[in-house]
């Protein structure tokens, strides 16, 4: 068990050790790494000197804030309406949303659609097409449906309309499901890269993941090392990759252990439904 969890954790540790290692020592080293080799932070300096990393962070932050806000408004509205058990047309409305989970137009028509709406090469192309997720909506609806009807009935007698009931009664009682939703949406925006790759052309609009892709997958570390000799470039480009993995993953990994129970709760609500 101990061995198993170590095996699962080791790749992450290795990345951290490598990122703090001296690039030449690291290149000369073979095999497992149990501690940073002649530790220094030069790779990190190189990463933070790269303007693209900052641009990426800024764009991702914008997408995160605007995207999650929109997600929450849409999901809450849909979940509230679809949790009214006596509403006429409920079946049709639910089907209308749920059907999209199982069938879609496909990658190419979706792309052409975004293009025809004039959203390509804007950050909105990364926000609007994913304005809500039917799966998350179901989780939230399940939670809303669990709120006792009597509360709602008594509010109605006091003359409250549905908007008031939603804002004053349902939402204050749904703290944990709201937390789950915000987390799910935030993680998915943080990790998304494919839409950015196909829709964005200007580099100053790139979110962080796309910047990472350039460096990690396409092997392009050149604009971080203009001032170095070519020998040095070859070796430090390796440790730069490890450093950038750490820089981009740390924010999520830092908050995650504290929020773990909310994530797990989300899976449970979803599983009961599914």
């Amino acid at each position: 068990m101990l061995l198993l969890s170590f095996a699962m954790l080791y790749p992450i540790l290795y990345v951290i050790f490598a990122s703090f290692s001296d690039s030449n020592a690291f290149m000369a080293h073979e095999g497992l790494l149990l501690y940073p080799l002649s530790p220094n932070t030069r790779s990190y300096e190189k990463v933070f000197q790269n303007p693209m990393v900052w641009i990426g962070y800024k764009n991702t932050l914008f997408i995160l804030v605007v995207g999650v806000s929109l997600n929450m408004v849409m999901t809450t509205l849909a979940a509230y309406v679809l949790s009214r058990k006596k509403l006429k047309g409920l079946g049709v409305m639910t089907f209308f949303v749920v059907f999209t989970m199982f069938f879609s137009g496909g990658m190419i028509p979706t792309y052409l659609n975004v293009q025809s709406l004039g959203l390509d090469n804007t950050l909105w192309a990364l926000i609007l097409p994913g304005a809500m997720s039917a799966y998350n909506m179901i989780i939230m609806r399940t939670s809303f449906a669990g709120i006792p009807d009597s509360l709602e009935e008594s509010a109605k007698l006091d003359g409250a309309n549905h908007m008031v009931i939603l804002l004053r009664i349902v939402l204050p009682l749904s703290g944990s499901v709201i937390a789950v939703m915000i987390l799910y949406y935030a993680v998915s925006h943080w990790n998304a890269w494919f839409n950015a790759m196909i829709y964005l052309r200007d580099r100053e609009k790139y979110p962080l993941q796309l910047v990472l892709r350039e460096i990690l997958i396409q092997n392009d570390t050149s604009n971080m090392m203009n001032d170095l000799s070519s020998v040095e470039q070859g070796s430090i480009s390796e440790t730069i990759k490890y450093a950038i993995i750490v820089v981009s993953t740390v924010p999520i990994l830092c908050v995650y252990p504290f929020l773990q129970k909310y994530f797990v709760k989300g899976v449970m609500i979803g599983a009961i439904k599914g």
Partner: protein, 317 residues
């Protein structure tokens, strides 16, 4: 009843219906208004592309638009089925999918059973936390890690060298692609996958264990005869649902990891669609391939759901 009376009844019924609809709208107009943005969103971003998928039956040219392009019936589908690449991508899709199921499906069950045997709850929580971590690392970073690890000077190559494997960038080797994909997939998903099984485990009646202990069953026998049957329904449902998406291999990980050198084993339906459509701008053809894939996936899902309903009385809808 004569004809006239019959007619007037139906007219009255219709009037009644309209009246009821009006009353419903008057009573719940705010709810319907709240739902309006959702309708607009799904029409614009989900149903409009479904309509747009009809270009699969056209020779779509962006300049002419859908209205102006010629209809060609099933030509693109036939082209695809008779294409040399058809069997290759179908085979790759199935091979990758089946391998992930064979090796990846039991992994979280085994881990959940192991965790269940851990009595120290603090240790258990630490292991769980660690095992969830890879689930939250983005796909780009996962693939970046895979890439540097399997490079010819990467750590995995260092280790494999000890066993006499020739130094090479492992990702350029077509025969290594599936193992790399499957192993990293297990690493990403095993911890997160345990959540649902651990939940099922807590629902097993504790008295069954007591009875088994009295009958002299050791822990292994308890696992075999009490625990496993206890979570069997969950396992069956998860497996059926997983089988339902057998041709639905996502493109994200594939297109981050593959290269022309490994198309032989790595190119799947969705990555093929991506390449033909967005890189070679072959709109109608790639839409046809994508539509074929969507329809098959949908059919599999319905089938899986029907089986699930029969086997376990649990289904998606």
């Amino acid at each position: 009843m004569d004809k006239y009376a019959e007619q007037s009844v139906s007219v009255r019924l219709k009037k009644n219906k309209i009246y009821l609809l009006e009353a419903e709208l008057k009573k719940n107009w705010l709810l319907y208004l709240m739902f309006l943005p959702i309708v607009v969103y799904y029409l614009l971003f989900a149903y409009k592309p479904m309509y747009g998928a009809l270009i699969a039956f056209q020779d779509y040219e962006p300049m002419k638009g859908m209205a102006g392009s010629d209809w060609v019936g099933f030509r693109h589908f036939i082209d695809f089925f008779t294409n040399y690449y058809f069997w290759r991508i179908l085979k790759n899709t199935v091979v990758i999918s089946v391998s992930t199921i064979i090796f990846g499906f039991p992994a979280p069950i085994i881990l959940a059973l192991l965790l269940n045997e851990v009595t120290n709850s603090k240790f258990k929580r630490v292991v769980q936390t660690i095992s969830y971590i890879p689930h939250f690392i983005s796909m780009v970073v996962i693939c970046g890690m895979i890439k540097v690890f399997t490079a010819d000077n990467g750590i995995i190559m260092d280790v494999l060298c000890l066993f006499g494997v020739e130094r090479q960038p492992l990702l350029n080797n077509a025969s290594a692609f599936v193992p790399i994909y499957v192993i990293s997939d297990i690493w990403q998903g095993v911890g997160w996958g345990t959540i649902i099984y651990l939940a099922a485990l807590t629902n097993i009646d504790q008295s069954l264990y007591e009875a088994a202990t009295i009958d002299g069953a050791n822990r292994w026998q308890q696992t075999l005869h009490v625990t496993l049957p206890g979570i069997e329904p969950t396992i069956v449902i998860m497996l059926i649902l997983r089988l339902g998406s057998i041709l639905g291999i996502g493109y994200e990980k594939i297109i981050l990891l593959y290269s022309p050198l490994t198309y032989d084993t790595a190119d799947v339906i969705s990555s093929f669609v991506y390449r033909r459509g967005l890189q070679e701008l072959d709109w109608s053809y790639s839409t046809a391939v994508g539509l074929f894939n969507s329809v098959i996936n949908f059919a599999f899902l319905i089938l899986a759901n029907a089986i699930s309903r029969r086997v376990s009385e649990t289904s998606l809808w």
